[in-house]
């Protein structure tokens, strides 16, 4: 099904004009934006829906931030003939309206979540509450490498197809492994997916978090950069929290990164020093998305825009021999309203 339904393997595209723009190492893009439904999320929902079907459940539920996971869940539920309900924060329903319509057309029920932050964190809490109430007939399809065991491990394994393909493809193109992998991190599933198959290799890995309005403000989602260890949604990981252990609200212009927690394995990789985690502001991500659109003809999801934005800092430190692979985790159709409103504010970037 990954091949005939989701459209795998996805290409590894050489970003020649972007490479020329920076004038240093070669930049490749892993094209998860070309997956069915427009993002890497379907790699995981396909795996989990097969488990749901195998365990005889009639109903699946999911949480969603940007709506990509919700769409990917609604899609596979339709394909498998299972009932589907998606929990989504009210704020995200507003900023990702297109995906709400897609889920509805696919036959899913979208439940607005009005508690707490009205974003991904509370959508996740509501989905967990539904799950404990309906555990007999319901399978909870978690969209990222978060939540209670075994979800972080399971989602990582379903997403690691990204890294496995990248490995083969880069060797075919270049005859060697990449020097650096770059991916955005909200919960962290696309990053875990591309990183994991390279974890024992000499490949540098960089995870890019959302710095929102800036790390020195309270409006960011940079859990690994600014968080402290804590327990949320059943796992111990870095967490944005106050001095009393209450979870703080995250902020990012990108709904998919707007989460105060992060996958526990990312926390482990940070503590081990295996992966370096950096952050990118809303503004930098928007500019990077604009640049990618003009140079490569690809409108990326705002989430992926964060990963591309880090090239500004990274590329000047590379040499011609370096190969950088950026995980282009999703396409930007869902973010058009945000992009348009930025243009109308006159914030388009200079070339």
């Amino acid at each position: 099904m990954l091949r005939t339904y989701a459209g795998r393997p996805t290409p590894l595209t050489f970003a020649d004009r972007l490479t020329k723009h920076y004038g240093r190492g070669k930049i490749y893009m892993k094209r998860e934006d070309l997956c069915h439904t427009g993002a890497h999320k379907i790699n995981n929902t396909l795996g989990q829906i097969l488990l749901a079907k195998r365990s005889g459940k009639q109903r699946v539920i999911a949480e969603t931030g940007a709506g990509q996971h919700g769409v990917a869940t609604a899609t596979v539920a339709a394909k498998m003939g299972l009932q589907c309900m998606v929990y989504m924060g009210e704020e995200d329903i507003c900023r990702q309206e297109l995906n709400v319509h897609r889920m509805k057309m696919l036959g899913a029920e979208v439940v607005p979540v009005s508690s707490g932050s009205r974003t991904l964190k509370d959508a996740t809490s509501e989905a967990i509450r539904d799950w404990v109430a309906n555990v007999h007939d319901t399978f909870y399809i978690i969209g990222s490498v978060v939540g209670p065991h075994p979800y972080p491990m399971m989602v990582r394994d379903f997403q690691s197809v990204i890294g496995e393909e990248t490995r083969k493809q880069i060797q075919a193109h270049e005859g060697k492994l990449p020097s650096i992998l770059l991916a955005c991190v909200g919960g962290g599933s696309n990053a875990m997916g591309i990183f994991y198959p390279f974890i024992r290799d000499e490949v540098e890995m960089i995870g890019v978090e959302a710095a929102g309005c800036g790390l020195n403000t309270h409006k960011h989602a940079a859990t690994l950069s600014k968080g402290t260890p804590g327990v949320l949604h059943g796992s111990l990981s870095y967490l944005l929290q106050d001095e009393n252990g209450q979870v703080q609200l995250a902020h990012s212009i990108s709904a998919g990164l707007d989460y105060p927690g992060v996958g526990p394995e990312h926390s482990a990789l940070k503590d081990l020093g295996r992966v370096q985690y950096v952050s990118i502001t809303d503004k930098q991500a928007l500019e990077a998305a604009s640049l990618l659109a003009r140079l490569e003809g690809i409108i990326p999801a705002l989430e992926s825009g964060h990963a591309f934005a880090h090239l500004e800092k990274l590329m000047p430190t590379t040499s011609k021999r370096d190969i950088v692979v950026v995980n282009l985790s999703g396409r930007g159709d869902k973010d058009m309203m945000t992009y348009v409103s930025q243009y109308s504010e006159g914030k388009s970037v200079q070339r």
């Binding site: 967990i128 509450r129 327990v231 967490l239 929290q241 009393n244 252990g245």
Partner: protein, 267 residues
């Protein structure tokens, strides 16, 4: 191996009730709701009205086991500025006036942040009798069970209709105080309780070490009476919070609690 809990107010109260063939009424309120100052007088009033045990909820920003009523009360209490430190001060204040058994219910993150060792020690010193951490599964409970034992606190674990006989026995063998028998699969405050008699009897059959108290969704004196026929007691939370939340009902909370208690006694 029996734990040394004979000096614990909760354990002695439940033994005493059972010897008199009476059922326990446990009332849950959210600490710091509706105001920080309301908690101490509320506990004392509930104790006077017939509560046998008070369960004090320690508010958390993301209370996964709770329905909308307790969530909203927790949110309000957090914005009022409630903290674990303040809750333990409230416990100390209550202890100046009452010996009612006090159990703290909450989520692990604030406790980890406070420092779990320090928290169990401070709770015991303040006059707490037991701890309930609904988020913590049996597999992760060891560190908390050990601390509870060390400080002679009851560590109350939960079972649900989805829990197998074997697992009920394992949970019962490490729990102390009582076994929290969740009436439904789901979160607090869901109003309909179906036929749970066979389920509660199954739990009681497997739980040989602890009294079995039923909670989640008990809303009326009628519920309290019906369930007390086969359980060792009931826990009422959301229905009480709902009354406390409404100003016109708040003054009659004592009378309502007396109705609950009377219904339980007239089996």
């Amino acid at each position: 191996m029996r734990r040394k809990l004979d000096t614990n107010r909760l354990t002695s109260k439940l033994v005493q009730l059972s010897e008199r063939n009476q059922k326990a009424l446990v009332l849950f309120i959210t600490a710091g709701f509706p105001e920080i100052e309301s908690t101490v007088p509320q506990v004392l009033e509930l104790a006077r009205a017939g509560a046998n045990v008070i369960e004090l909820g320690m508010p958390f920003s993301d209370p996964l086991a709770d329905g909308p009523v307790i969530q909203a009360s927790s949110q309000r209490a957090i914005s009022n500025g409630i903290t674990l430190k303040l809750i333990l001060e409230q416990v100390r204040e209550i202890r100046k006036h009452s010996d009612i058994p006090l159990v703290l219910m909450g989520y692990v993150n604030p406790i980890l942040h406070y420092g779990e060792r320090r928290f169990f020690a401070d709770a015991a010193n303040a006059g707490v009798d037991g701890i309930i951490l609904p988020e913590v599964p049996l597999e992760e409970a060891d560190r908390f069970l050990a601390l509870a034992r060390q400080h002679h606190l009851a560590d109350i674990l939960l079972v649900s209709p989805a829990t197998s006989d074997e697992r009920i026995r394992s949970i019962d063998s490490v729990s102390s105080g009582f076994l929290y028998c969740v009436s439904i699969t789901g979160v607090t405050g869901r109003s309909t309780i179906g036929d749970i008699e066979s389920y509660v009897k199954r739990v009681k059959w497997n739980a040989k070490h602890n009294p079995v108290l039923v909670g989640f969704g008990i809303t009326t004196p009628d519920d309290a009476q019906r369930i007390s026929r086969f359980a060792d007691g009931v826990i009422v939370g959301s229905a009480l919070i709902q009354r406390i939340a409404q100003e016109d009902l708040r003054k009659d909370v004592g009378a309502w609690v007396r109705q609950l208690k009377e219904a339980q006694q007239s089996l």
